[in-house]
Amino acid sequence: MAQQSDKEQMLAALNMKSTEELFGDIPKGVRSEITEIQNGLCEPATRSRISSLLARNRPAGKMSSFLGGGSYDFYIPSAVKSVTGRSEFLTSYTPYQPETSQGLLQVLFEYQSMMCELTGMDVVNNSLYDYSTGLGEAALMASRLKPGKVFLIPETISWPRFSVLQNYCKGPGISLVKYRYDRKTGLTDIADFKSKLSGDVFGALVETPNCLGVLESQVDEIRQALGDRILVAGVNALSLAAVRPPGDYGADIMISEGQMFGNPTNFGGPMLGIMGCKKTHVRKMPGRVIGLTDDIEGRRAYCMTLQTREQHIRREKATSNICSNEALTTVATASYLALRGGSGLRETAFYTMKKSRELAKAISAVKGCKAPVFSGSYFNEFVASFPVPAETLIEKMSEKGVLPGVEMALDGMEKNLLVAVTDRITDADIKKYAQVLKEVVQ
């Protein structure tokens, strides 16, 4: 900010006596002041105020946490933080001027490239706000691709995702119809699914794993049943190191959440909405994409492309209103993926699968407890049932330093929890879970 003398000089250049004159165009009647915010604090005071407020938190990351349900506390390598800390990335805007923004653009292009490989999709865009808004955008995009007013969704979908989706569907008046899941396996009830495929259905969402943690094994059947309707696959991005990616079974649109790839849980935000699609659909896709081209000397270069889909050009006809996105989390994700590589992702996937099965076994060994509840296969997250209400369990167990899982909103699941395992879970954490569970249920 300008020093005092500069301020005076600038005012003088404007023939003004005080900054008040700069606001002469604001009618007296609408003038107001900030009266209820105290004066500014110096940096040390700010720091101590914030730290002491935050000290009232008891962050999951300092406990044995088995929370998931869309946000996962995977280990973040120091090197990833050092990349996102580079001020050239951190303090830049959307790369509207590609010549001076090649660094970020290449990173974003690499993000797209790696994500295409991980998901098997033709195209991946450069971030939406999160999974839920990605789902909303996917429904809108699907409705642009095919006629119809009905979008099928799984009965298992979590309430927040459902609510966000509903909000996105209000504008075009899309109806959401839920198809049932099999009470034993946790999988899609295919008969029910097929029965709902009326003529007005333009597409369907399949989540795998779904919100019960169950991996859908009937994706090919579903794809077939849908015919030329739009298949939107909602996936766990890390699981794709182990299970067939959506590109493999012909998903038209894929959505996922990338927070787990080098980003902290951060109380649920920033997240990273990943969206991919078939190349044929790309012009209907929302969000930013980076393309490869060259400069006038033939040097390879990168720039934003297909901007004519976007709001700053197409305004109300744009494929979405999105402008600021989650670019920095894609930078984190790109560096995370490059550090892990395909093999490293497989290692991480394997570890969490192994440990989640050990945990399920340990839970089942406690009287009155069962895990997993559903017989369908799962990735790193499963539903467990307990002899006590979920709420009580969470309260009692977290007093002893264990966050045992996320409450379920589905009917009749008041004594169930969705339990997740990440690569930060050690054998000691699992032992502690079993131990504390035993103490609490007895």
């Binding site: 609408v30 407020l53 929370l67 991980l118 909000n167 109380f267 920033p270």
Partner: protein
């Protein structure tokens, strides 16, 4: 030129690195054969040294605010104090999980609660939702709230009116919420009251406006505007991306607006991260408060909680609670600035803008007379006679070590150059920029067409990018094989 951006020859990760670690991992033990992925995803595996080198070199080919002046109009590319970053990366902040019970997140809830109140006070609104993840997301949320309000009143309004100078997200957000867009032309850089009066009707759900508008001009008729819109039962929507022009001087509430979104990543000091994340809280007047998204941070006695018990709420617009990391930065910023500092920030933003404008208008046309607020729009149309476009001027500024201003927006001004110096820049910087711009404007067309020469690449073939659509390394290989 003295300035020169770094240039490294950095191949794509795929071209330089591979993944030769054969982990030999099999998932058969855990998964049925037909859902297992056979080959590992084709993602190279870099050792830490190579990864850090790769991204460090790339970073050096990117311009950030910390590297210099970034007068990108409408974007408020100001300097953001480092303490914000430090606070947001404290374990007690970033290791919270969104599914933790309220009792474990009291600090965060208190901060959210206080932030809601602070922002409500600054905007003159009754209630705030912190959930939207960006400005456009806030607009969309605001439109949904408007819709819910009208429906609750049994009204089926289907139009949103806005001026032609409005930011592209305004019409896009309203359209996403299901509204038809009615665009009204501006008159002398301001809302044309007659056109507005003619456009609004009982079909009008809302009129969207940013004030100062995108020309940096304050809409002094705002009270009349409010009367006209309210007169037909419409709501007045305030795009708060320009709040650093008015904080402490007026407020949307005072001006008669019913709904406001803020761009915390502009006014309230979160670095842009190359495009995001941001946060776009939405504030509303009392009659709309019930419709805001759930949950909202609330206080009972000394305890804070997330209040879901709001039956008229539109529900959720984000999977969790919005971008907490950004909210915390904004809270930190407001604490350190204080009410006085925010007001001074506005004063400096507006002083810098008018000072710079006064220098620039010596050599570039600046349509519409009078004061500007935090930004102003010049026109490069006089250069056209020499075959020079605004784009050329922008590219040439790169060679002088500056990030170019926003160009070709707003569309109202031909060959527009939209300059927002922001409050954190010194007179010396403004002087240097004004001198550079003057120099550029006087340079030969050849030099300008040739620019930039000092960035890591020369001017791009952007049309090729749209034609060939190479959006991944896989596409690139296919393209090369053609």
């Amino acid at each position: 030129m003295s300035y020169r951006q770094a240039r490294h020859d950095v191949p794509l990760v795929y071209e330089e690195y591979s993944d030769d670690i054969n982990t030999n991992i099999k998932f058969n033990e855990y998964l049925p054969k037909d859902i297992i992925r056979q080959a590992p995803p084709n993602i190279p595996r870099l050792c830490e040294r190579d990864m850090v080198k790769h991204f460090t070199q790339l970073s050096q080919m990117n311009f950030g605010v910390d590297s210099g002046f970034y007068p990108l109009g409408s974007c408020t590319m100001k300097y953001n104090p480092k303490i914000n970053e430090e606070m947001a990366s404290l374990p007690d902040a970033c290791m919270l999980h969104p599914h933790q019970p309220d009792s474990q997140i009291q600090g965060t809830l208190q901060i959210m609660y206080e932030l809601q109140n602070m922002l409500a006070h600054i905007t003159g609104m009754h209630s705030m939702s912190l959930q939207p993840a960006a400005g456009a997301h806030g607009e969309f949320t605001g439109m949904l709230v408007a819709r819910a309000f009208h429906e609750d009143n049994g009204q089926k309004r289907d139009q949103v009116v806005l001026p032609d100078t409005s930011h592209g997200t305004n019409p896009a957000s309203a359209a996403m919420a299901g509204y038809d867009i009615v665009t009204i032309p501006s008159k002398e850089g301001r809302v044309d009251l007659d056109a507005l009066a003619a456009a609004v009707s009982e079909r009008t759900a809302a009129f969207m406006l940013t004030n100062p508008n995108t020309l940096g001009i304050f809409e002094s008729d705002v009270t009349e505007i409010a009367k006209i819109v309210h007169g037909v039962g419409g709501l007045l929507y305030y795009d708060g991306a320009n709040m650093n022009a008015i904080m402490g001087k007026t407020s949307p509430g005072k001006m008669g607006f019913d709904i406001v979104h803020l761009n915390l990543h502009k006014t309230f000091s979160t670095p842009h991260g190359g495009g995001g994340p941001g946060a776009g809280p939405v504030g509303v007047v009392e009659k709309l408060a019930d419709f805001l998204p759930i949950p909202i941070a609330a206080k009972k006695g000394e305890q804070y909680h997330l209040d879901y018990d709001r039956p008229k709420s539109i529900g959720k617009v984000h999977g969790f609670h919005g971008n907490w990391g950004v909210l915390l930065r904004a809270y930190t910023y407001i604490l350190s600035e204080g009410g006085n500092g925010l007001t001074e920030a506005t004063e400096m933003a507006v002083l810098n803008s008018n000072y710079l404008r006064q220098k620039v208008e010596k050599y570039l046309e600046i349509p519409y007379p009078g004061l500007r607020k935090h930004e102003f729009v010049a026109s490069g149309s006089a250069l056209k006679k020499n075959g020079v476009k605004t784009l050329d001027v922008a590219k040439r500024l790169i060679d002088h070590g500056f990030h170019p201003p926003t160009v070709y927006f707003p569309h109202l001004v031909e060959e527009s150059i939209m300059i927002e110096p922001t409050e954190t820049e010194s007179k010396a910087t403004l002087d240097a920029f004004a001198a550079a711009l003057e120099k550029v404007v006087g340079e030969s067309p050849e030099v300008l067409h040739n620019a930039p020469t000092c960035a890591s690449v020369r001017r791009l073939n952007e049309t090729d990018a749209a034609k060939n659509l190479i959006l991944s390394y896989r596409d690139y290989l296919a393209f090369k094989a053609r």
